[in-house]
């Protein structure tokens, strides 16, 4: 046998990078994976943009007092959160779980906690890209958000990302990948269209009362209040925070790595 290659010698001691470095690295890697995935790009950026164009060009949301784009843009941002945090991350995680990627990564220094934090970082990075692109296109189409509400909007975006990431992981960690795929796509359409994300909840009887408690409605209403009127929608924030806590607890309780 030839001599042992020096670079293959076992390390003499533990040599994991610090947690922050590991999470940053995982976040970068996950973001790269998401951005090079055509389907996810379609769901995260193209479809929300189509929703924006649709509402603007059809004049569907125009009212005597409000321009359609000012109502539509915050809703489309809410839809973008659902796309990347819920549908995109949910489907990706479900398949990673099936193929043992989660199990493998949890045996590396990254560990389960680092993996989750890396995913969260990736969702926030993607969200930044989405807000930049969708917001930029919106501004070009004539969107004039109320600048007084920008920080409230950011707060809602982050809470929404946390809530929908937890919900996406909850589904991914408890059902088969095919079921996750179907469920998160279906809910993306339903919550987007009827659940108060893109449009305010339609005023049809008891549905409008119930749907106000959906995380999608809380996120959409919060963003509309912030960007349309520059105000904080307190009840919506409380509802969204409640969902964030419940969904996180449920995901921690029921998520299965394999």
């Amino acid at each position: 046998m030839s001599g042992v290659e020096s670079s293959l010698q076992p390390a003499r001691a533990a040599h994991a990078q610090p947690l922050v470095r590991r999470v940053l690295s995982q976040g970068g890697y996950e973001t790269w994976t998401a951005l090079k995935n055509g389907e996810q790009l379609l769901v995260s950026i193209i479809l929300p943009l189509l929703a924006l164009f649709g509402t603007v060009w059809t004049g569907l949301l125009d009212t005597p007092t409000t321009r359609g784009i000012d109502l539509a843009a915050p809703g489309v941002l809410a839809l973008a959160v659902l796309s990347s945090a819920f549908t995109g991350q949910g489907i990706a995680t479900a398949f990673e779980r099936r193929y043992g990627v989660l199990a493998y990564l949890s045996t590396t220094p990254l560990g389960p906690a680092g993996l989750l934090l890396g995913k969260a970082l990736s969702v926030l990075t993607l969200l930044t890209v989405q807000v930049t692109v969708i917001g930029g296109v919106g501004l070009a189409l004539g969107w004039r958000p109320d600048l007084a509400g920008i920080s409230w909007a950011a707060l809602f975006l982050i809470c929404g990302a946390a809530t929908f990431t937890a919900l996406g992981l909850l589904i991914a960690g408890t059902t088969k990948p095919e079921a996750t795929l179907a469920l998160t796509n279906l809910l993306w359409v339903l919550l987007g269209a009827l659940g108060g994300a893109v449009f305010p909840v339609p005023d049809v009887g008891i549905w409008s009362a119930l749907a106000a408690f959906l995380p999608s409605a809380a996120l959409g209403d919060g963003l509309r209040a912030a960007l349309l009127d520059g105000t904080l929608d307190g009840p919506a924030l409380l509802i969204l925070l409640g969902w964030a806590i419940l969904a996180t607890l449920a995901a921690v309780r029921w998520f299965r790595w394999r």
Partner: protein, 334 residues
């Protein structure tokens, strides 16, 4: 277990752990899972020791508990009872420091299908302060030939090599390889085996599972034979295959030995159809195989040759062999 003194001396100079240090210890490990409302006991008191600078092979039929033993040892499963010590720590509570000293290659690879080997392996290396020279390792394993293709487009054997490289990214002191040779062509298999031998010489503790007895025969310092969640045999390959008896003589003839001939085998010898071959007189497409026990002196061979002459049997293949690992395996497999 005694190791080659030349190799050991070399290791004391360079390796992190002297050969023979216990790196993994499982004591009376039981593990049950709930399946469709009933509890299935997968491991029933497994005892296992793996040492630095040695290859420990877990052998056993499908469902014997090999993969579950690894998962418990890696900290991916928490055993129902018993103790697991990996580098003197409890792997179930492992932090990043312990995980930086342990490499894992899962049975199905655990590689993300949408990534390229190059991007994935580069990423895995960033988790360690002092990672392996990955470009060099990729070259050695032939990964550089398909490094920029999505993993989903790779063959099973190619993926296998990627997950081996990922397991080695942190230059671990202990490595777990679940079926490392599955799906490999002969050339890749040779590459992987050479690498494993080199890792052993560098002082790494290597724990692998296989159901290919040839793998164990070629690689393992220590073999642990599992059946139904229990260790039924353990030892070095030569310990497991040696017996006090004389070696068996195997021969093959191109037709079945007539039963009249079997009735008059030389005194002191027994001739049986080879176990593990098809039923009718050990018949295979290329002839019939037999095993002769009891040949201890040259005169026994002379008597055997006379018996062949009498019955006009000309062997097409003839060899003396100790018990193979396969014999041991078949003995313990119902």
């Amino acid at each position: 277990m005694p190791a080659d003194p030349a190799v050991t001396g070399h290791l004391h100079a360079q390796g992190p752990a002297p050969t023979g240090d216990v790196q993994l210890q499982l004591t009376d490990v039981h593990h049950s899972v709930r399946s469709r409302g009933s509890t299935v006991e997968i491991l029933r008191g497994v005892e296992l020791t793996a040492r630095a600078g040695q290859v420990t092979a877990l052998l056993g039929p499908n469902g014997a508990g090999k993969t579950t033993t690894l998962m418990v040892a890696q900290g991916l499963e928490r055993p129902t009872s018993g103790t697991v010590r990996l580098l003197d720590q409890d792997p179930w509570r492992a932090g990043a420091d312990l995980r930086s000293r342990v490499g894992v290659m899962l049975q199905d690879g655990g590689m993300p299908l949408a990534a390229t080997p190059e991007r994935l392996l580069r990423h895995v290396c960033t988790l360690y302060r002092d990672p392996v020279d990955m470009p060099r390792l990729m070259e050695r394993l032939g990964i550089d030939e398909f490094a920029r293709r999505d993993i989903r487009r790779l063959s099973g054997g190619q993926r296998q090599r990627v997950s081996l490289a990922a397991a080695l990214a942190g230059r671990p002191q202990v490595i777990f390889l679940d079926e490392p040779s599955a799906g490999l062509d002969p050339v890749s298999r040779q590459l992987v085996f050479e690498l494993i031998r080199e890792l052993r010489a560098s002082g790494m503790a290597i724990i692998l599972t296989t159901h290919l007895l040839d793998d164990a025969q070629r690689l393992a310092d220590h073999v642990v034979l599992l059946r139904q969640g229990r260790v039924v045999r353990r030892g070095t390959v030569s310990e497991l295959t040696s017996t006090s008896e004389a070696p068996a003589l195997h021969f093959r003839v191109d037709r079945a030995v007539p039963s009249v001939a079997l009735d008059e085998v030389p005194a002191g010898l027994t001739v049986q159809a080879e176990p593990g071959h098809s039923s009718a007189g050990g018949g295979t497409p290329t002839g019939s195989s037999y095993v002769v026990h009891g040949a201890q002196r040259p005169s026994d061979l002379e008597a055997l040759a006379a018996w062949w002459t009498r019955h006009d049997l000309m062997p097409t293949d003839l060899h003396l062999a100790r018990r193979s690992l396969e014999d041991v395996f078949l003995e313990v497999t119902p």
